[in-house]
């Protein structure tokens, strides 16, 4: 038998870069994303660190001798109509807004990933039925429904607030995961596994899921930015955090009073800037992550 002369292809012995190093390279390459990441780390460390020493009850205690004061050396950002220190409320508010944003993002993420995986993996009639439910939730007037539920739920708490938000926010990530799962299930590895008799749940959660991890991280980061905005919007309207638990939204809510809006900028403007910066920074990091997961768009 004649030996065909096949050149041994030079296999690059260098390992392919890991996802973490790709992401890191992308963020470092994009100066704005790097700045955003540093800003987020500092802000997060600062608000969670400082609030360990701050007493929330002390800050939200009404002090009638110090109402509506402009910024001074005693109150760095002045006080509100109850004589409460704005700077302290801003720190605690940022912490609360971040916490609820992360909580809602995680809860919607878990629901969306499981629902989307099941729907996309099985496909066919199951997928069709599950997606009609998603379609229904998508056309609901989100803001109004959430406001009504917040208004009528008995024993309203932060938990019920995040549950209500989650109940009407899980569809976005679900659709993304489902369409990816539809593609993944056709791939050889999933088909091979199925032929070998691996149970469906095992293929879904131990084989397909890891392949979707990057898209999940990207979607959840972008969702976090949106959820911070939604929380502050709902609290602004008076249907989120109560005043006793300050958030960025409750600080902004003071601006619903025309006099506060016109004459006392120090109450609402810092919170407005903070919401804007947080959302922009989270989005910047999210966009850099998105580029890192798509080889065609990478800059690094």
């Amino acid at each position: 038998m004649e030996h065909t002369n096949i050149n041994v292809i030079d296999i690059d012995t260098e390992k392919a870069p890991s996802m973490t190093s790709i992401i890191w390279r992308e963020i470092v390459r994009d100066k704005i994303a790097l700045l955003s990441l540093i800003f987020l780390v500092i802000i997060t460390a600062f608000v969670y660190g400082i609030s360990l020493f701050l007493n929330q009850e002390e800050i939200v205690k009404v002090d009638l001798f110090a109402i509506n004061q402009p910024p001074s050396s005693e109150f760095w950002l002045g006080t509100d109509y109850g004589g409460r220190d704005i700077f302290g409320q801003l720190i605690i508010g940022t912490r609360n807004s971040l916490s609820i944003g992360i909580l809602v993002t995680l809860m919607t993420g878990i629901i969306g990933v499981v629902y989307g995986l099941v729907s996309g993996y099985y496909g066919g009639t199951i997928d069709n039925m599950m997606m009609r439910i998603v379609d229904f939730f998508l056309i609901l007037p989100f803001l109004m429904i959430v406001i009504v539920f917040v208004a009528i739920v008995p024993k309203y708490s932060i938990w019920s607030f995040s549950l209500i938000m989650t109940a009407f926010l899980w569809m976005g990530i679900t659709r993304i995961i489902r369409s990816k799962a539809l593609q993944e299930r056709e791939l050889d590895y999933a088909q091979a596994s199925k032929t070998l008799g691996t149970p469906d749940w095992k293929i879904m959660f131990t084989q397909v899921l890891p392949n979707l991890s990057s898209i999940i991280i990207v979607t959840m980061t972008l969702n976090l930015a949106a959820n911070i905005g939604l929380e502050s919007g709902l609290s602004f309207l008076g249907f989120g955090f109560p005043e006793s638990t300050p958030s960025l939204g409750t600080l902004l809510g003071y601006a619903r009073n025309p006099q506060t809006l016109e004459l006392r900028w120090w109450i609402w403007l810092p919170a407005a800037v903070m919401v804007f910066l947080l959302m922009l920074a989270v989005r910047n990091v999210g966009e850099a992550l998105k580029r890192a997961t798509d080889a065609r768009q990478r800059r690094g």
């Binding site: 379609d135 109004m144 208004a151 502050s232 919007g233 602004f236 309207l237 809006l261 016109e262």
Partner: protein, 320 residues
Amino acid sequence: MWKFIVRRLLITMPQIILLSVLVFIMAQMMPGDALSGLIDPNIDPAAMEEQREKLGLNDPWYEQYADWITAALQGDLGQSFRFKMPVEELISQRLVNTFWLSLVTLIFTYIIAIPLGIISGRYNDTLRDQLISGYTYIGFATPLFIFALVMLWLFGYTLGWFPTGGSVEPGLDPGSFAYIMSKFNHLLLPAISMALITTVNTVQYLRSEIIDTKQKDFIITARAKGAPESRVYNKHILRNSLLPIAAYFGFEITGLIGGTVFIETIYSYPGMGLLFMESVLQRDYSVVTSVVLLFGIASVLGALLSDIILSLVDPRIRIK
């Protein structure tokens, strides 16, 4: 074509029914009932119970649902206890204001989006494009209500260029020229604030549509035939890129609904959004359920409209 529309309509009906069930459940969860706002608190509880029985409030839920939905279909949405008038009259008063606000916002949205999208797509990756892309990027990250607050503070209070609340100057004769101008003046700032934020989607979409179309074969052919650049852009590219934008018109309506709640609250503009907020706060629940139901139906119809336009524009959607 018709098959697609009929199938799409068949999905719409169950959606509206489900929506009405959800709104009904919400109404049931609300404290109080249709009577609690109507009667004098000094009245005898036994007499009240009798009234309840007569109005069918003690019936099982499915009979109550059937009663409620038949009344709603006939245009009877109940009584507002705050205004002591039928809800449908109250809504029709406010709906006019929201209609004008939405219309002006939509007009501004497209006035801003179309030129910016065209410039950005035609001269992509130049300084002009980068400026416009920067604006859309920041627009995406800015919550509507914060932008509206800053606009009101800046242009309404600090500079005093625009009125800061209401929908019209009091004391003007309805129908007179001054009245119409005052109405328009009150609309302007809220509509511009909303349009500047909601338009960024359309700008970005138009930009990528144009960049995609630019590389298609028929454009290369048009250029090869010697068509002047202005004709290539205004006729060949624009026509093909604007159609998908038209299809998203229905979804724009859905987006406006959430927006009006914020905008009308901030600018104290007496439309449906403000009516909704006031009614929730004052627990005028028959108004709340009616507004949610109406806006829900508007969203369903908006999505339907978009899908139908989209299927007219893009035949691939019809195939499945």
